[in-house]
Assembly symmetry: C2
Homo-oligomer: 97 residues x 2
């Protein structure tokens, strides 16, 4: 009855990041940090997890002399997000038996 929820997406910060990236071509680290109201440490860790799963790509460059991390959702990430949203519906629409 209840499908398992993708544990990578069923976590507040990672879900927020993915949600933002779903509607954005790309987003910078600092932008995500602000929008999600997270600490840099936490965000850094969670971005790495999403990247390791292949849900997002991370491009690390420099803007002038300062580091610049740019994030993009991948096709795999889009698919995973959509699947997650779909699976979650079972939990939210409390269907009677």
């Amino acid at each position: 009855m209840f499908k398992d929820l993708d544990p990578l997406l069923h976590a507040q910060l990672r879900l927020a990041v993915m949600s933002l990236l779903m509607s954005l071509e790309s987003a910078e680290f600092t932008f995500l940090k602000e929008k999600t109201n997270s600490t840099a440490g936490n965000l850094s860790v969670q971005l790495d997890k999403l990247a390791e799963a292949g849900y997002i790509s991370l491009e690390k460059t420099f803007r002038g002399k300062k580091p610049l991390t740019t994030c993009r959702i991948t096709p795999k990430g889009v698919a995973a997000f959509e699947q997650y949203v779909n699976d979650l519906k079972q939990y939210l629409n409390h269907n009677p038996l």
Copy 2:
């Protein structure tokens, strides 16, 4: 932008239990165990947490000689569930900026 999700509800098993109880007058331990496909140990722990938060009530009696645990959602639980579902929408409907 992203409201904090109630950590008590943002957990697969507890959410599944609450989802079931939203549409049921009451449910027995074994019923919830089957429907959620969980182990007795895990379910026991998570039910206790929901009960401690006042989201459900647990009635422990006997049926014949065997223990019988009956679970019910409380008004507080209903409110929390509805709030959670509402908050979650922000994360799912990826609104552009």
